[in-house]
Amino acid sequence: MSIFGIFDIGRSALYANQLALNVVSNNIANVNTPGYNRQDVVMVSANPVQIRGDFVGRGVGDVDVVRHYDNFIFLQIIGQKHSYGLSDAMYDALSKIEQIFNEAQDLGLANVLSEYFNAWQDVATNPEGEAQRAALLEKAKALLQTAQQMESDIVETLEGVNDEIRDVITNINNLTAQIAEMNEKIVQVEAGLSQEEASYLRDQRDQLLTELGELVDFTWYEDSNGAVTILVAGKSLVNNDKSYNLTTAVDLEGNRHVYYGGDDITDFIKQGKLGGLIAVRSDISDNVLFGLRRMIASLIKETNIIHRGGYGLDGSTNNNFFGDLQIYYRVYSQAGYISSATITDLSSLTLDEYEIRFTSDTDYEVYDLQTGSMVASGTYTPGGNISFDGINVVIDGSPVQGDKFFISPLTGVIEDASVAITDTEKIAAASSLSDLPGDNTNALQLAQLSQQEIDALGSSTYEDYYNGLVSTVGIMSGSAYDSLIYDDNMLNELEMKRQEISGVSLDEEAVNLIMYQRAYEAAAKIIQVADELMETIINL
């Protein structure tokens, strides 16, 4: 082996250690880069040569840059992100709802509700008193105004949720587009290479996948070329270098739906922020909003029934205390329409919601959406009456099979609620015209409504029902918070596991820096020694 062999060894050492210094520097530079996986050099000694029976090394051969990466942990992180996104979105909305029902700070309906019933007792104690009557009207208005404020806050929260669904979908589309782009690059870079991966591109794509994972739950796999395919609700959002957008539209109820192509996939999205927003939206409207509306509707119904039976100081009777309940509807039909929807018998009103479904172009069935049972059915005649449970609906036009008509006494009940009585004389404290003005039995009955167990409220009193509503809100918000904390901790655990393998340690890199620097210096020394040897030979 010649002296030139020493030059070669020195050169390979300089090259390998300089590369290692590059990698170390890059690690240090990326110590705070999210999703960065630390890299390392793996050096392999070159094949030796046999000189006089002995094997002598020829320096550093292959130098590989490898990425410290655990695919299993990464999969777990994405899975945990799905559930973190879900809890995060749910807690965010529910904590706002909880604030609306925060009876701990005397926000909410409890105070005005008991003041309203107490005002009836004051009228009962002083049926002739103008002051007590005027106070009652004020308390009734305060009750409705509070309910209206609460409802509008809830509706506002729901609108916020719907807006967020739109924004999340925009983000998802951006991310899938970027992932498709990364796919293209990774496939190009890695084509023909057997071992080395496009580390930095993969780091970036992993980061995008992690972000996407928080927004929506998806299934995914990587093909042999290095491209990932992403499926949401079984529909492919990313396929090689192509991405496909989700779209969104608002339904009659104001709820935003998620579409892929022409398919509504809203109900199939179960996790991630999007899944959380969809779930929390129905939690809030089905439990909280529905409950509050039903309670107010029931109070209006029961109060009016009793009030109509009594007499005002002026001898008038059959007056509503609160503005009459109305029927609200939504039409899911092209050619059919509702020409009237009215309450025919207040006392038969269940305060449930209904759906009139056309089973053919000529036959309809009416379902109570709360009990699920069919309450009426018949053959359709345009302009004919469809009557059930104290409600009469007239459908006109040409509905066809599959058309639906949603009928509810609740939808606008709080928004439209009013105190119908303006003249205190018309407050019906008396049960009998001949016993005016001292007869207070009707007022007593209205005051005692507060203790009555109401059928429409699951046989509970107004106060108990409201208390239940507050508990429901507290439980929903509390469990969302617990999940959020759990998911956050789990995510942190996983991130720490990832860090154990892939995170940069400055101490470690400092050691490496010195180590490779020293090796580099020694390699330089090799060159110098070889040079001196050469000089010695030349000067012989």
Binding site: Q121, T125, S471, G474, G503, S505, L506, A510
Partner: protein, 291 residues
Amino acid sequence: MRVSTFMIYNMLTRSLNSNLRELTKYSEMLSTGKKITKPSDDVSGMSKALNYKFNLDEVSQYMSNVDEATSYLSYTDTVMSTVADGLTRAREIAMEAANGTLSDVDREILAEEVDELVNNLLNLSNSKFGNRYIFSGYKTDTQAFDSNFNYQGNSGEIMVMIDRNATIAINIPGNEAFVTGGKTYFEILDDLKDALLSNDITTIQNSITEIDNALTQVSKIRADVGARLNTLENKKIALEDREYNLTVWLSNTQDADIAEVSNEIAKLEIALQTLKLAGAEAVSNTLLNFL
């Protein structure tokens, strides 16, 4: 276990955060004075507290009803006591005249006094509490008796709620309070007056019996009113008791124990201090310092 630089920072940030979160929670308790600051803090506690509050509102309404009823009935009692005085005086007059020894002039003077008593009684029967005639049954805007001694009210009893399932009548209809044996007290005294003027000894003697009956009736009414006032007083004590208990329960359920909270805050502050010291040490000490 390999420890990356991020792990050290992350651990520190998370510990600081969780400490500060706890500290905020207790500070909120301290500033609101409540250990439940939102329903999810303690759902069953919140539900209990809400129940206590509803009950407290209810109890305080019953208490105000009891006060109102007490004033009404006390006033009725005062009126009836004056009625008894009037009747007693009339009885004395009848007794004085019953032996027939009085002169015409004396009897005329007594008749005049009786006439005055009739007017007084009539006025008393038309007593008003606030703007309500108390002896007219439900007809509270109408005088109980007109000048011809006809009852214009009805027998309506005004009931007031003094508890969830308890009501009490706050009025006595005039046809009970001022009538005995089908005759109003005014008619009895009016007959006495006429008898005094005509020196009709038999009628005078009869009227003594009738006045006795009237006095008995007034006593019965007053006993009834007294019994109701007694019920009200007992009810008031019971309600006050309940109000006290509910207030205590409510406080136990929702109010923060300030001493305990302050103690927690002090502990957390020490932990936070220590954490900051240790953190500063961990973050600033790297190998690079020694190279």
